[in-house]
Amino acid sequence: MDAEVLTGQVQVDNGVATLQLRGEEKSIEVKELPEKFVRWQLDYKNTIYDAIERDEYVAFNAGHLPVVATWDEESLVPNLANKGVGFTPKDEYIEHYLKLVEDAVKEIQKLPPHAVNETRDLRINTARAFYKNPDHVDWRRLGLLEIFEGSTFRNLVANPTASVLWTGNSPVFLSYQVDCVVEIMTPDDPRYRFSWAMRRLFEYEPFHVVQTIYPYSYCFWVIGYKDKTPKRRYPGKRSDNTVNKGEGTIEHVSK
């Protein structure tokens, strides 16, 4: 398929995504991810960076590897796949962070790929430098790299919409479904370059299957989300939404 057609399927302008759905043009408002989810992402990334810093075993990276569901018009069931998902800087900051991460990649590429111990500090510090400024992250969009051009890719070409499901660790099992429209990007797009360079920082850590071919990347624009974190259900209530905030009462007053 022609790259121009692919990359033009979804256009986002002034916070509104325009796309063709079943032959009709649709406009859908793009949304920022909720604070609770953003907070979880930042904390989770920190714990992963801490673990990499200490060269510890990373059994799974729930914040980074959600399940992505895609489907086309003919699909009886959706296609599901765990995908590595990251974030990209806001447009006004992307040049700054792209230079930061690409410069770090240039440095680490001077050494052989297996020299992960020698480059660890640089790699971790670079990744942390981005996420330590949460206001610089565009929380309206997710960044993914395409590798195999399989079912996910074919579905997104036919139908540029997707749902993503994250589930965190015990005992909270924080869980969010995020619904998106999907812009396909070629390697010249700064968002592709940023996602690729961030991946390259950790490409040769044991928790990554090394990949060298990424024909496209995706910008998943958030159009909706649901908090699916499990809560105990009590009779007459949908959940145990309790022990939250005191909402302004001062009960303890010294005499």
């Binding site: 979880w40 005992p171 909270v172 309790t242 909402e247 009462t249």
Partner: protein, 191 residues
């Protein structure tokens, strides 16, 4: 969305300026970690107030105005209004690093007793609440053995009415914290 140490300090300074009277403003939870530079930011600022009855209105207004000026969402909540507290709640407060008692005039700034804070937030049990309790353990502000003893001593007083949840749910959450702490500890030991 994200509250930094500078934001919290600016908030406290404004409260102290508007309330030149004796009293204590307790930092409760995550904001303590930010003030102590353990975290770069928090997403909620919870405080508790201890003040003579005649000053309650004045201090509450000072808090509201300061929060508005600094554009912070501040929740006034004494942990005692949410769950029964351990015996350390009184007297277990901690000083704020680098703050002299008279830094903010007669208004004292303290961290609320960290054992009470850990138990209160585990009762809520959101992801950041576990991270908070783990941070308090890592900082050495609380000890897991003593925390277990304090929880054991409280369990009889925990009922649906006092903690707004099935006490079995609290036990599940607390066991989760214990397992997370052990897992974190065994990782550190192996490193």
């Amino acid at each position: 969305m994200f509250t930094s140490q500078d934001n919290i300090r600016a908030f406290i300074e404004r409260v102290a300026r508007a309330f030149p009277n004796p009293g204590t403003l307790y930092l409760v939870g995550e904001c303590s970690l930010v003030v102590e530079s353990v975290r770069k930011f928090c997403t909620e600022v919870i405080i508790a107030l201890d003040v003579d009855a005649e000053y309650v209105g004045l201090l509450t207004r000072a808090v509201d105005e300061a929060a508005r000026e600094v554009e912070l969402t501040v929740c006034i909540e004494h942990p005692e209004t949410v769950i029964p507290l351990p015996d350390s709640a009184r007297g277990g407060e901690r000083r704020v690093s680098g703050l002299a008692d008279d830094t903010f005039g007669p208004l004292r700034i303290r961290h609320f007793d960290p054992y009470s804070v850990a138990i209160r937030f585990i009762a809520r049990g959101d992801q950041p609440d576990y991270d908070l309790a783990l941070a308090l353990l890592t900082m050495g502000w609380i000890d897991i053995g003593i925390l277990r003893e304090k929880v054991d001593a409280l369990l009889d007083s925990f009922s649906f009415d006092t903690i707004q949840q099935d006490p079995a749910e609290f036990r599940r959450k607390f066991k989760g914290l214990n397992q997370m702490w052990i897992a974190q500890h065994s990782n550190s030991d192996a490193a």
